[in-house]
Assembly symmetry: C2
Homo-oligomer: 200 residues x 2
């Protein structure tokens, strides 16, 4: 069953989450209020409080869902990518970059508003991001071991690549000269280059 067309309850919940994302994007976490979010969602503030305890709860929910979706996209790409670490690395970065280009609101809000969450809430989000990062690190380390990648500080190089991808929504416009898929392919190449890739 599609959650968006499921029960009325689910419909309202999703609408509130979407409105909150718009509001966090437009006004920032500190500028947003439960009332402005309710206004965007076309419901009452009391209705928002029925579903979410506070703004932090909304932000956690949005960022975790986005991170999980991005992770799923990466793992799906890896399932098709075979066993060559170079191809796996490229495929994982392309999928990760493509998600970023196609979900700019989620990714920008994640970059900019995460730091306003309290420590406990931040940890709930960061766990999913750390798991993603670990997957990239494992692929990069595998390539380093067999000698096709050559950089010191592999983990830092992975972080550099992931922040490079996270920066896409800062400049990418869907109506620009390059489409999301083309940009993602280019980023896959940049990421291979960055690790000092030399075919075995």
């Amino acid at each position: 069953m599609n959650t968006r067309s499921g029960t009325t309850l689910m419909g309202v919940r999703d609408r509130i989450l979407d409105a909150a994302l718009d509001e966090f994007f437009a006004a920032g976490f500190h500028g947003a209020t439960m009332r402005t979010i309710a206004n965007r969602a076309g419901c009452s503030a009391a209705n928002v409080y029925n579903h979410f305890e506070n703004k932090s709860e909304l932000l956690v929910e949005i960022l975790r869902a986005a991170s999980d979706e991005q992770f799923t996209a990466t793992r799906n790409a890896l399932r098709k990518a075979g066993t060559d670490p170079a191809e796996r690395w490229r495929a994982a970065v392309v999928a990760h970059a493509l998600f970023t280009a196609r979900n700019p609101r989620e990714c920008l809000v994640a970059n900019t508003e995460l730091r306003y969450l309290g420590e406990v809430d931040r940890k709930r989000v960061v766990g999913s991001r750390d798991a993603q990062e670990q997957l990239f690190v494992e692929i990069a380390e595998q390539g380093s071991r067999i000698g096709i990648f050559d950089v010191p500080h592999v983990h830092q190089a992975v972080t550099a690549v992931l922040t490079m991808c996270a920066g896409i929504p800062l400049w990418f416009r869907p109506d620009g000269p390059l489409g999301a898929a083309e940009v993602a392919d280019d980023y896959g190449r940049y990421a291979l280059n960055l690790l000092g890739y030399r075919p075995a």
Copy 2:
């Protein structure tokens, strides 16, 4: 004459700018008010209004100053770097990355709060950033012409490198295993790799 130890007037102005940067960093542009900025600066809101028309004026001033300083650091590095485009590219990225690692508040606020400025104010900041970017593009294009760099969409590759550097404050900690200078050097190498550098 050192502006910080100049007239009392300059002293207050700088203190307000520093307080505003702290406040934008902690609470975001929308969360900050002229009053909370005044509190941090240890002066009255009226005093803040004597120096700056509104929050936007403060943010513009902070971001332009940071961008100009970063640009100066890059140009100073280039003056010492000689004429080889590969060495110029590396030196420019290292200087740019080093500034970012050493000025995390300015760089994070630039990444996250710039989008809240109105169009006119945004243009006042973006001009300085665009000039920086253009300098990097010219070096990368020069290297591409003589065949030591090999990527399609050189401008996009430059943007990828600059957003990668801009992401440093998202993870870099001065008390971490690598110092700012070491991280900046690594980023210089990543940036050379990313452009597909092959020595002539």
